[in-house]
Amino acid sequence: MSKGVKAAKKMAQAVGGPNFIKGLVPAGQALPAPPLGPILGQRGIPIAQFCKDFNEKTKHIKEGVPVPCKITILPNRKWNIEFKLPPVSYFLKAAAGVAKGAHSTGHEVGGIVTVKHVYEIAKVKGQEEHLKHLTLEQMCKSIIGQARSMGIQVVHQLEAEEYGVFLKELAERRKREAEEKAAAAEEALKGMRS
C-alpha cells in the first residue's frame, strides 16, 4: 500500500445495490474528492461531515496508516463505519522497512523479516474479529504466505549489519530501475514524436 497515495481502494458498488462501501482509507486523511467524494456523494452522504467523522474516529491511529473500513449507509443520510486493523501487507512492509513489496515477486527479494516479526504481527492482527478463531501458528503461516506473495523473505535470524547492506543494495537497485524506466519512457516519447 503506497502510503504517499491518498487514493482509497473501493469495490465498485452499483448505487442501487447493497448499501455499504468497503474501502481502504488512510487514517486521519479522509477528504480527497476523487476516491471518496463521488462514491459517497452518489449515495447522499455529506462528504465533509463524513470525513470529519472518519478522521475523529481514527485520530488515535497514526496518520496515514491504511485502515480498511466498511461504511454502511443508513437512511436519512446517516452512516455507520466499522473499522478493521490495517492489512498484513502494511505490517510486513513496515517491519521490513520498505515502501513497496518486490517489483517482480519470485525473482527478487523486496525485503526481509524474521519469524519473530511475523509472530509479533500475528499477535496484533490475530485480534481481528474474523481471525480470532485462528491459532497463532495458523496466523503465522498465513502471514508467511502473504510475505511470499509480496517478495518479502522470512528468515530465522537477521543481523542489523547484513540487513543494512541488503537495504542499501535494494535502494541502489530501485534507483537504477527508475532511471532505466525514465530512459525508456524518453525513448518512447522520442519515437512517438518523430
Binding site: 497514526k62 496518520e63 522497512g97 519473530k116 530465522h156 542489523a160 540487513y163
Partner: protein, 143 residues
C-alpha cells in the same frame, strides 16, 4: 415534415470519399489525447498528497523491534524478544517456496490441493487472450 437533407460530405460518408479521393490527409484539429507517458508531470503528484507514517530505515531498529506493529499514536512498537521467549513451533515453520507437485506425496490432501491449483493455472494460461466461446472446458487430469 421534410426528411432532413443528407449531404454527401467527407464527414458523412468517409468510406465513399476515401475511394473517390484516394488517401487524402487532412489536418483535423481535435483535442489531443494524452497518449504520451506524462512521466514529468507524474512525479509532481506525490508531493501534493500527504505522506503516510514514516518508514523506518535504520536496520538496527528494524532488527530489534517489530516496526509498524503499533498503529496507534500512543505506545511504541513491540521489541523483538530473545529466542527462548518464542514458542517452539515458530522455528519449525516452513519459510521457503511452496512445495511443488514433485515434492508432495501423491494422494495426500496437500497433493490434491496443489494439483488443483496447477490445473487452474494451466487453464487460465490456456484461456488467456481467447474470447468467450461455448466450448466444454478441457478435462482435468487426475494422475
Amino acid at each position: 415534415m421534410a426528411a432532413p437533407m443528407r449531404f454527401l460530405t467527407r464527414r458523412t460518408c468517409p468510406q465513399i470519399c476515401h475511394r473517390i479521393l484516394g488517401c487524402v490527409n487532412v489536418q483535423v484539429a481535435n483535442y489531443a489525447k494524452a497518449k504520451v507517458p506524462a512521466f514529468k508531470g507524474a512525479k509532481d503528484l506525490t508531493s501534493e498528497k500527504p505522506k503516510g507514517p514514516s518508514i523506518e530505515t535504520d536496520p538496527a531498529v528494524l532488527t530489534t523491534q517489530c516496526c509498524g506493529a503499533n498503529i496507534y499514536k500512543d505506545g511504541s512498537d513491540p521489541p523483538l524478544r530473545p529466542d527462548e521467549e518464542y514458542p517452539d513451533w515458530l522455528w519449525k515453520l516452513h519459510l521457503g517456496p511452496a512445495a511443488t507437485l514433485d515434492d508432495l506425496e501423491p494422494g495426500t490432501k496437500k497433493y490434491f490441493k496443489r494439483l488443483r491449483k496447477e490445473n487452474i493455472w494451466a487453464d487460465n494460461a490456456r484461456r488467456k487472450g481467447k474470447k468467450f466461446s461455448v466450448q466444454a472446458p478441457p478435462a482435468r487430469k487426475y494422475e
